[in-house]
């Protein structure tokens, strides 16, 4: 027994030494960078899924029409410049002299193909994009005219998460191949993908934006946050997304790790039924429910302070989010006694029956927050029941308007209030997309009109003013109870990387370099 144990220790030692020597041989820039991401990459098709982690990782391989700075400001990408010819028509000038990883040149045809594929490819998850386009004309190999079906001043921003695909490559392979391989114009080339295990990328030395500093990058999905953190602590990964709040203290005490945090673009809120006949259709009831919630306490107790209270449906800041109102504070401050009085005045001194539909497997701390909200509401005398369920059921029920009171969330991907309002606030159109997440059937003609007018406005300032008006009306009417904006938290090996967190959560390796 003794001999065996000694030989195992010996084996481990030998492997460790081999590993260390091996690591020493690498020059620093050749050291592979391993990034632990919080969920598996769904598939390799840039429009085959809309999961941020997937599209944000694929963005290393596929360039977009446009790019964004880490703060969210829209900057040129493969489209070098654009003009708005009239309310409906956009002219895109495509960057010249760019080749795909397989050597094909990038032309306006590829951009046209990509936009059309959003609604033609049956497994696309970006149908909305293609359906909002009336026609696309290739003027010359580097110029493209796009006519939208209705005025959309944020059209360039709304297509920014789409990766541009090579027409020839995409058409010459079947759907399964395109969903398991990747080939674009981006800073990194696809090397290998083993689902649920790793994605390996290699620097594209000929990249138009300059050769990336780090040669090899490995993305490893590790869905369990405790394991992901253990992998960071043991040095298996260099950088991780969604550092669990519980581990924060450990990082702060450690000299080996550091953390970077940034308010996310995600807004957490409570949505409710506005249809006549429901208690929550009465604004006094909504106001009482809002006044019942002590958001500071919730953030400190559940989030250890790693979230910020919010008062509207977009996270800000105003420079990145047109329509965000920096002067809009909490309209109905925490006041449980006042809330009780309001409830009595509305005719519900003993509360009413209501069930909060929550989720337990989607957001950090989701279930605890739902539980806390239930407790706050019970304190003012509303006997709320809690129904937490898996995300596979939760989101379908919201979209199908099968809930009266729910724990909602929105991450604004276009960085624009009009998008968030289109989904959550504008009158629900059962046959269309407008109000697709407005499960409570909130409807206010003024808000609808202001958003529509804003989208037709040609000047950015006028548009922002209109959006802010709509924002103010909806929030004064308590369309939802805004709760908090969680902080996105990344953990990394101390002193290893230059890393700037991005508001859109994309993990772009070409923006990173070794110290």
């Amino acid at each position: 027994m003794k001999v065996r144990r000694r030989s195992i220790v010996g084996l481990v030692l030998v492997l460790l030494v081999v590993g260390l020597v091996g690591a020493g041989v690498f020059a620093q820039s050749d050291r592979p960078l391993t990034i632990g991401i919080e969920t598996t990459i769904v598939n390799m098709d840039p429009m085959g899924n809309a999961v941020i982690t997937s599209i944000g990782t694929l963005r290393n391989i596929y360039d977009g029409f446009f790019e964004r700075t880490p703060e969210g400001e829209l900057i040129p990408g493969l489209v070098e410049s654009y003009e708005r010819l009239d309310q409906l028509t956009w002219r895109f000038h495509v960057r010249q002299g760019i080749t795909y990883h397989n050597g094909n040149p990038l032309t306006a045809d590829d951009l046209k193909f990509t936009l059309e594929r959003t609604s033609r490819y049956e497994r696309s998850q970006y149908h909305e994009v293609g359906l909002a386009i009336d026609s696309i004309t290739v003027v010359d190999p580097y110029t493209l005219d796009i006519v939208t079906t209705s005025p959309n001043p944020i059209f360039p921003g709304s297509i920014y998460s789409l990766g541009v695909m090579d027409k020839e490559w995409t058409e010459s392979h079947d759907a399964t191949y395109v969903s398991t391989h990747a080939m674009g114009t981006g800073p990194y080339k696809f090397v290998e993908w083993i689902a649920e295990d790793h994605l390996t990328l290699e620097a594209n030395d000929a990249y138009w934006g300059g050769k990336p500093a780090i040669t090899t990058v490995i993305y490893r999905p590790i869905s369990d946050e405790t394991t992901r953190f253990a992998s960071l602590e043991s040095g298996e990964i260099d950088l991780m997304t969604f550092l669990p709040v519980e581990s924060m203290e450990r990082v702060e005490r450690s000299s080996k790790m550091e953390l970077v945090s940034k308010p996310s673009q995600r807004v957490m809120f409570l949505g409710f039924e506005h249809s006549p006949g429901f208690p929550t259709a009465d604004i006094r009831v909504r106001q009482a429910m809002y006044m019942a919630i002590d958001i500071e306490e919730l953030i400190n107790e559940i989030w250890n302070g790693y979230a910020v209270p919010c008062t509207q449906l977009v996270a800000g800041p105003a420079e990145a989010n047109p329509g965000y109102d920096p002067d809009l504070g909490r309209l109905f401050p925490y006041d449980p006694e006042g809330a009780k009085a309001l409830l009595a005045e509305a005719g519900y001194p003993d509360g009413f029956e209501i069930t909060l539909d929550g989720v337990f497997d989607r957001y950090p701390k989701d279930e605890q927050v739902c539980l806390a909200v239930t407790t706050y509401l019970r304190k003012i005398g509303i006997p709320v029941l809690l129904n937490v369920r898996s995300r596979s059921i939760h989101f379908g029920e919201i979209q199908n308007a099968e809930t009266d009171f729910w724990f909602g969330s929105w991450r604004e991907q276009a960085f624009d209030l009009a998008e968030a309002f289109f989904a959550h606030v504008m009158t629900r159109d059962p046959a269309g997309a407008q109000g697709g997440w407005n499960a409570g059937w909130y409807s206010n003609a003024d808000v609808d009109r202001l958003i529509t007018e804003a989208n037709a406005a040609l000047s950015a300032d006028e548009r922002t003013t209109l959006l802010m008006q709509a924002n103010r009306i909806a929030m004064e009417e308590i369309v939802v109870i805004p709760l908090y904006v969680p902080l996105d938290i990344w953990g990394l090996q101390a002193g290893l990387l230059n890393f700037t967190p991005r508001a859109d959560m994309f993990m772009l390796a070409d923006e990173m370099s070794y110290k």
Partner: protein, 322 residues
């Protein structure tokens, strides 16, 4: 014997039909699969309706079920909604990782559980054996995720000896990717295999001990002692062999279960195997994968049961199936 096997295989088809039908029924309540196809964010009612029509999801459930069956008989199990790959390939890709892990874990469990169990029965008052018996209680009652996390904290984080997650470096031989052929791959087996083995090890230990105690009290064992046969021979040939029958059943059943449903261990260690696939596809409402997955597991478990029954016959010649 042959008629017996044939009858069992016929029964298997009935089981598969029932299992697949139940799966189909349950999916009515597991959320709307259309969102897995069109996405949560950008699809409107029209797009969803078109996708429903294209995939026949607008039809009544029994129509969908018979369409699935008729396609399945032709070997076409469809494409995964989210992975956009043939369902069978999606599942087949995950088999090597899980099968290798389960084989290692089961070997650990049988080896240690068996030896410790026999020792605990033969020398019940020996201190170490008492400790092993006590330890087995922990093995049975500790939740898997806790064991996994504790092992990670100790061996990966504090001591830094073993990797915390993943499968490490693998070698591809044909369609099979194996972790047995690299040092890195072998190291990655240690923690998940121990975690997965622990519960089964404890069960085997207690089962073997209990069975051995019973068998050792039988007359024929006493006669064997009395004849003056060597100790090892009595224990191995006379006692252990007869004590093994229930153990074989448990090992067999657990093998199948570990193969299909090691969800916790695979999640904690980010092991890219079948259990991880199941939980992932459940979250994403990828119903074609889930239905075929569960049918596949029913098939495997049925075959293991059959193998176990045949195994009885080999262990105990008195059992016969004619």
């Amino acid at each position: 014997m042959i008629t017996y096997i044939a009858r069992r295989i016929a029964e298997l088809f009935v089981v598969l039909a029932v299992v697949s039908f139940i799966c189909f029924g349950i999916f009515q309540y597991l959320g709307d699969p259309i969102l897995a196809i069109t996405g949560y964010r950008y699809a409107n009612a029209q797009v969803k309706a078109a996708a429903r029509l294209r995939l026949g999801l607008d039809k009544p459930i029994y129509v969908q079920y018979f369409r699935f069956l008729s396609k399945a008989f032709r070997g076409d199990f469809g494409l995964s909604y989210t992975k956009i790959r043939p369902v069978l390939n999606v599942i087949a890709d995950r088999i090597p990782a899980t099968l290798e892990l389960v084989v290692v874990a089961t070997s650990i469990a049988i080896l240690f559980g068996g030896v410790l169990g026999v020792m605990a029965a033969v020398r019940p008052h020996f201190m170490l054996n008492r400790l092993a018996l006590l330890g087995s209680l922990f093995g049975i009652s500790m939740p898997t995720f806790l064991v996994g996390l504790l092992l990670i904290m100790l061996f990966a984080v504090t001591l830094g000896w073993l990797p915390a997650s993943g499968r490490g470096e693998t070698v591809r031989i044909g369609f099979w990717s194996t972790g047995f052929l690299t040092g890195d791959g072998l190291l990655h087996f240690v923690l998940p295999a121990i975690t997965l083995a622990l519960h089964q090890l404890a069960m085997i230990l207690r089962l073997v001990r209990a069975e051995m105690l019973e068998v050792l009290s039988h007359d024929y064992v006493r006669s064997a002692w009395a004849k003056g046969l060597p100790r090892v021979r009595v224990i191995r040939k006379h006692a252990l062999r007869n004590a093994l029958i229930p153990v074989v059943t448990v090992v067999g059943l657990q093998f199948g279960e570990m193969l299909g449903f090691s969800i916790v261990t695979e999640t904690v260690f980010q092991w890219p195997g079948l259990g991880k696939l199941l939980i992932d596809t459940l979250y994403r409402n990828d119903s074609p994968v889930i239905v075929v997955y569960i049918m596949f597991m029913a098939l495997i478990i049925s075959f293991i049961n059959l193998a176990v029954d045949i195994g009885y016959g080999l262990l105990d010649p008195r059992i016969c199936y004619d």
